[in-house]
Amino acid sequence: MAAPLFLLAPPRSYTSLVNAMLGQHPEAFGLPELCLFNVEYLVELWRGSEGPISENGAVARHGLMRALAEIYGGEQTTATVNMARAWAGAREHWTSAQVFQEIVAKIHPLVAVEKSPSYTMTVDRLRWMLEAFPNARFLHLVRHPVGQCKSLMAINEGAFAIKVEAIEFREDVCVLEPQIAWYDLNLNILEFLESVPAEQQIRMRGEDIMGNPQKYLADIARWAGLRSDPDAIDEMMHPERSPFACFGPINALFGNDPNFLAGPTFRPNKPKTPSLYDPVPWRDDGKGLYPEVIELAQSFGYE
């Protein structure tokens, strides 16, 4: 069974696009957000687990349903999604690891490529991935904190920041502070990667991939043991060809960032990386990034 390739990154870090690009490699299979390692047992995706970051929404299951419909049913329709529910029902007491292993075995010899940004919310979730796939490869995708935070606050009113308790207490008020999410989630990833052999991990800036995809996608392909010839690279330049790069049937619409699903075509661009020292636009007190955030961003190569 080919070891999967996981993308690790906080939300809004180019993960949807990069995942779909890598998934279009002729020797790979790009999955939607399965969210499987959010829970220990499959049934918990339906039942929900306790706590502030519980996963009990139907949307968390859309990616898995669409993947099962596509892989086992050959298409994504209301009927095949219903079949996928039955498939999952028959395996409800399996661990998430067993379910993921079954999917990976089914698409063998293609390499599964997956990202679910919610995995980065706890180190435990990340460890479950490694326990399930000791030979898996991990691509740590980073994005400039200002760009990532602006994007995070623009989607769903910044609800994700609340979910990870990215809050700042001032004298008599509490405010959302997305840079805390950027920092803490990247910290979780770094802590997890301490336990991953060096040859199984790589870190890349999303802005670099967006600016020169041919070079960096080829780098990733070589590192992952995949072909890096021009044909393979050309395939990866078309994420919109993925069967998951669109909305799904009415009973499993999402499975990825809705913005990506609405416009998955890659348009070459060189994202601007603002200064780490300027005031940030989401704060009303004219302050900028925390010193800890600046230090971590610098270690990722931002200036």
Binding site: P52, I53, T122, E157, I167, D172, Y183, L187, V293, S299
Partner: protein
């Protein structure tokens, strides 16, 4: 670490969220905040929820006039005489086609749900009439 983009290995420090981690669940636990902090946090969430509801309502109002939205959406494909512009970018046309397809998909989904509800309501209605007629016969 691979040799692709060379970056120094960052040091792992303390997390920034002021909400303590519960050692048992290993997750952020707001109940471990002080009473004052918990009240401030709850006030922030209340404001957030109210703002979100207001924005959601604004969006709903926009959806009430789908015909106008659709007309606005395809406007870019035509000039003031109703002809498609000669140099419309292919990406825009493809994007517009996808957007319209999604609109159609949403309406089809809505229609399917309404039909489903109609079938169920009819069943309930028929059952109610049947019960009523049985009760009348017994009397």
């Amino acid at each position: 670490m691979s040799d692709a983009p060379v970056t120094p290995k960052p040091k792992i420090t303390k997390r920034l969220s002021p909400v303590p981690i519960n050692p048992e669940t290993k997750r952020s636990d707001p109940s471990m905040l002080t009473q004052h902090q918990e009240a401030l946090r709850q006030a922030m969430i209340n404001v957030f929820t109210a703002q979100k509801a207001r924005r959601s309502l604004e969006r709903q109002v926009q959806h009430i006039s789908p015909n106008r939205n659709l007309a606005e959406g395809i406007k870019i494909l035509f000039d003031d005489k109703g002809r498609p512009p000669p140099n419309a970018p292919l990406e825009d046309i493809v994007e517009e086609r996808r957007r319209l397809e999604y609109h159609v998909m949403w309406f089809e989904g809505l229609l399917a749900e309404l039909k489903n509800r109609l079938v169920r309501t009819r069943e309930v209605e028929e059952y109610a009439f049947e019960m009523l007629s049985q009760a009348t016969n017994k009397e």
